[in-house]
Amino acid sequence: MVAGLDITLAELPQWTCCGVAFPLAQDNYIGLVAAARILANAAKTGDGRLVTVCSFCYNVLKRVNYAIKNNPEAKEKLNNYLEESYQGETSVVHPLEVIRDEVGLKNLESKAGGRLKGLKVACYYGCMLVRPATEVALGDPENPVLMEELMAALGADPVDFPWKTKCCGSYQLLNASDLVADRVREIIDAAVARGAQAIVTSCPLCQFNLDWGQEKLVSQNGWPKIPVLYFAQLLGAALELPAEKLGFGQHYVDPRKILLREFS
């Protein structure tokens, strides 16, 4: 996908797990170490930018970066522990931002040639890319529009719906799956009510919860299910990447019927 957009990425050597959940306790910095180490390593390679496609990683890395830049005690303790002198210089970016700022939506529009042919997509952001706005913010925390702009550039017809930043239930899938079932039902119902044919997500866990959740948690007779896609899949399809690389066969709610109709 990135090659199709003329972007070159370098793999960060010795990358590790960022920790996934930003620790909210203020009396202990050990939970920030993993992310701090990644940021410090990234500062020494490439052009100072760290791209991550995972929404949780994006959130943790940006929040730890913010803590290092704004909390002198955090910066001192983390640098002492890691034996680094990292000042917060790495810039954490999401592919959606790279597309908007480096590739340009007009440029993408000309490459994609309207290939998504008016597919009605409801863009669902979830939590981690938009909250808290002071530290993260891929856009307005209540009404981000970056995915809608991307979808429009690819020729799809973005459908606005009220739950685009409502939490899907996240890791409660493992502990209180009823909660996820309720959120999935609400989100899907809201998108369908606005005429969406598919949902496009920017978080892998949201994609799973909404997709697997429709099939395994909510299935009721007659309840309308719609396919849940990851933004990179639609981007790849619009750039005419080979279909077998886009994973359309791996969903629980099969997107291929709708996509075949739109693309054939």
């Binding site: 620790p23 239930g169 493992l174 209180a176 866990l205």
Partner: protein, 129 residues
């Protein structure tokens, strides 16, 4: 119900969260926005009140274990309280004593195989001791 007022829990929560619970004016915006309210015994607003009153019973609520740390409460609080950090403080006090909600053995094995790794890592970090 034990009504003995103690500032012990309030101070501990303030220390871990870095937040001042006495800013809360009980408007209920957090409760109205919360992802997990359907499964909570105490609403976020009620939890804030119990923290203000120093009720140590607040540590036993089920709410903190069905919180998804979605941060909606935090971004909408009109007093600027980072409510998610308060919920985390209550979890941290529990987890540091070994009280946990998520145990690997209880998660269905087919779910463990299917679910994205981030759910497991974040779930265990937030809910396991």
């Amino acid at each position: 119900m034990d009504l003995s007022i103690s500032l012990g829990i309030t101070e501990r929560v303030k220390e871990i969260s870095g937040q001042n619970p006495f800013l809360c004016m009980q408007c209920g915006t957090c409760s109205a926005s919360c992802t997990g309210i359907g499964k909570m015994d105490l609403l976020p607003r009620q939890i804030l009140r119990k923290i203000q009153l120093g009720d140590p019973g607040v540590l036993q609520c089920s709410s903190i274990w069905v919180c998804t740390a979605c941060l909606t409460c935090t971004v909408r609080c009109p007093r600027g309280i980072d409510i998610a950090r308060l919920m985390e403080a209550l979890r941290a006090i529990n987890l540091r004593k070994g009280n946990e909600a998520l145990v690997l053995e209880k998660v269905p094995s087919e779910l463990i195989r299917e679910v994205p790794q981030m759910a497991l890592t974040s779930g265990f970090r937030k809910l396991s001791a």
